[in-house]
Point group: C2
């Protein structure tokens, strides 16, 4: 993914419109965060999509491909390739599902789980100072609430999809 993003440059009247007052900072804050986070991801020799899959599978007992696709925003067709590469690295495994033989269950291998358990705390520890330097604890709490409300505002509109929605 690694989606590239419109930096929302030169949008008209950023000072006047309350929406714009938030939109650009949102994009810029996320980008700044992402730039830092993606270094770590690369060090794991994973692409963003691959990490997305690993993170989604972490702490679960596995998912079918379609569940995984819904939970990661990796489209169905792409997922096959992503899983192929993760399987080649020995991080995930596919197995048959008895009840519905169309489905394939995907789960982390021991190696994948180990990566998940090691990589995330390390990533968090690395990113933590950036947040702590910018935010007082109370602000963090407020920020969280507001961001979640914003997230939901976008999710609602997209129809009442499965509650979990897209995670990342």
């Amino acid at each position: 993914m690694g989606g590239r993003t419109p930096r929302a440059k030169a949008i008209p009247n950023p000072a006047r419109d309350p929406v714009l007052k938030v939109m650009r900072p949102l994009v810029e804050a996320y980008w700044a965060f992402w730039l830092e986070a993606s270094r770590y991801i690369r060090r794991l020799r994973l692409t963003p999509s691959q990490l997305d899959v690993i993170a989604t599978l972490g702490d679960t007992e596995g998912m079918t491909c379609s569940e995984l696709s819904a939970a990661t925003l990796v489209t169905k067709g792409t997922l096959t390739g992503v899983l192929d590469r993760l399987e080649a690295k020995g991080l995930v495994e596919r197995s048959a599902v008895r009840e519905d033989r169309r489905c394939t269950m995907v789960r982390l291998t021991a190696k994948g789980d180990a990566l998940f358990r090691k990589a995330f705390p390390a990533q968090i520890a690395h990113l933590k100072p950036f947040f702590e330097r910018a935010l007082a604890p109370r602000e963090a709490t407020q920020l969280r609430e507001v961001l979640l409300r914003l997230r939901d505002s976008f999710r609602w509109r997209r129809g009442s999809r499965s509650r979990g929605g897209k995670r990342k």
Copy 2:
């Protein structure tokens, strides 16, 4: 779909750590936003990187490739290809620079500028309701401040590169 919802993405102790309290909502809010915004981008037949370039060039008198690369986070090597495609679409043009013949100046064509002027207000208008539904004006102001601070926290660490494109 029915049954199993992917367990929350298993980042350790999201409830306790104030950093984590913000990190995931940041990512999720951005993604929800991006999912909606990217629809519009696709309708313009632009890729995210291409839009990034267009948006960066908008309201400027042009930039050299290296300036553009620095302002967009599109790497030097990739930029050539992106510009080739935008040039083929008639949205940007390259021209020589007298003072330094190694440089190439890139600017929007009339067509590119028209796209920029039309597309952005439309995009904003589309996204506005999502923000307005979620945030009171005062909250928007606060959110802006906090996000900018967070952004800067990440930027500082990366050295003091000025990342704003030259504006007219």
